[in-house]
């Protein structure tokens, strides 16, 4: 059987399945599993033969389809009296949920979008856009340098806050968002700049944790020109 393959148009296995359902004009609540499974596997084979990097998710759904198909073949035990659960139910639920959001995405896209349908006065050229001084060679640093910088910051913070009662309450997610906002605004900053001249430990710790989290998410990158030097942070590309 020949399959017309449109590779880039699928957003994932569920999207492919929805496409097959639409193409065959099938009632989503009564999917002929054998037919759909066959066509679905046909697409997967075609993608494989084109040496496409097939995301694992496609294979997971393939196995789900085959599993459902095998369950459909088993005779139902009606003597139980209870309504037999349709093996397709779970998948149908998932498909409909996905379809709902796919349509929601379409409607979002039909709204009046800023910078596409309407425009605001162009922002003034960002003044912070200039790179760090050119002569600096930056090397990407790892966790340990970051930890060392953290300890220096803590050490210089001292114990002055011991008598403070009104400790500022901050949360990690707040701090993460603050840092994202700062990077959004000027693309680059430094560890000490983020701490500022604030010396309370809680803030330093949260700043540090936020940076680690953002590094993990690959939202920012950390650089250093020399051991124990200033840690520079920039938005990841």
């Amino acid at each position: 059987m020949a399959y017309e393959i449109k590779l880039d148009i699928f957003e994932g296995p569920l999207d492919l399945l929805l496409y097959l359902i639409r193409k065959n004009e099938i009632d989503i609540y009564n999917i002929p599993i054998a037919l759909i499974t066959e066509q679905y596997l046909g697409y997967i084979d075609a993608m494989k033969s084109l040496n496409l990097d097939l995301a694992g998710e496609y294979l997971v759904l393939a196995s789900t389809l085959i599993h459902i198909k095998s369950r459909m073949l088993l005779p139902s035990r009606e003597e139980d009296g209870e309504e037999e659960e349709d093996p397709r139910d779970e998948l149908v639920k998932q498909l409909i949920e996905y379809k709902t959001f796919k349509e929601a995405a379409l409607r979002l896209n039909n709204l009046t979008l800023l910078d596409r349908d309407v425009f605001i006065r162009a922002a003034t050229e960002e003044i912070y856009n200039e790179p760090f001084q050119e002569e600096l060679t930056l090397e990407e640093i790892g966790i340990f340098e970051l930890v060392a910088a953290f300890r220096r910051a803590i050490a210089s913070a001292g114990y002055e806050e011991a008598l403070e009662i009104d400790v500022e309450r901050i949360s990690l997610s707040e701090r993460i968002n603050e840092i994202v906002d700062i990077l959004q605004e000027r693309k680059r900053t430094t560890f000490s700049e983020l701490i500022g001249d604030r010396t309370d430990r809680v803030r330093i710790i949260y700043t540090f944790l936020a940076i680690l989290e953002l590094m993990k998410l690959q939202v920012l990158r950390a650089y250093q020109t020399e051991p124990y030097g200033e840690i520079r942070l920039s938005a990841a590309e």
Partner: protein, 173 residues
């Protein structure tokens, strides 16, 4: 204040993000919010009355000066190289987050059936979503939500302004 309208108009022009009536009143000092709001209404009708290319729009909880929607073709020519708009994966992910927030990454992936790490990163960078906090379950996964910039980009007053989520039984033909 004699030139109240002029001042407000100038503020709207100079602002980088939507301004609230409260913020305008705060800047003006000796002016109460009610007066600001009625002046804003005046300005709005001035602009629409004389078929200005600029519209004064309620968005993201504030008021913003924007070009009129039907004039987009010309402005797109002006800004030609910068392709605007969002990719299909970004839109789908954003839709799931907007309607289901606060939501974990794993939940988004369950709904969309694909990995969304890259898309989430892009949305965070575009400042359309934010990290709301962490869910109190093992692993303390990060939970995501939309932010104010999202409302601004999609021209929404607030989240209740989102198009209603069409539920399951309404089948399209």
């Amino acid at each position: 204040m004699e030139n109240l309208k002029a001042i407000i108009e100038a503020l709207l022009f100079a602002a980088d993000a939507p301004l609230t009536a409260a913020r305008i009143a705060e800047i003006l000092g000796e002016c109460d919010e009610g007066a600001v709001k009625s002046a804003l209404l005046d300005i709005k009708s001035d602009y629409s009355g004389r078929h200005s290319g600029i519209a004064i729009v309620d968005v993201a909880g504030g008021i913003q000066m924007r070009t009129r929607e039907d004039l987009a073709p010309w402005i797109r020519k002006l800004k030609a190289p910068k392709a605007a708009g969002l990719s299909q994966p970004a839109l789908e992910t954003l839709a799931v987050i907007a309607y289901r927030q606060p939501i974990m990454k794993s939940e988004i992936e369950r709904i969309r059936g694909v990995d969304v790490s890259g898309v989430l990163k892009g949305l965070l960078e575009k400042s359309l979503i934010r990290i709301v906090g962490r869910k109190d379950v093992p692993g303390k996964p990060i939970i995501y939500g939309t932010n104010r910039h999202f409302l601004e980009v999609f021209g929404l007053r607030d989240l209740s302004d989102l198009p209603t989520l069409k539920e399951m039984d309404e089948e399209e033909s």
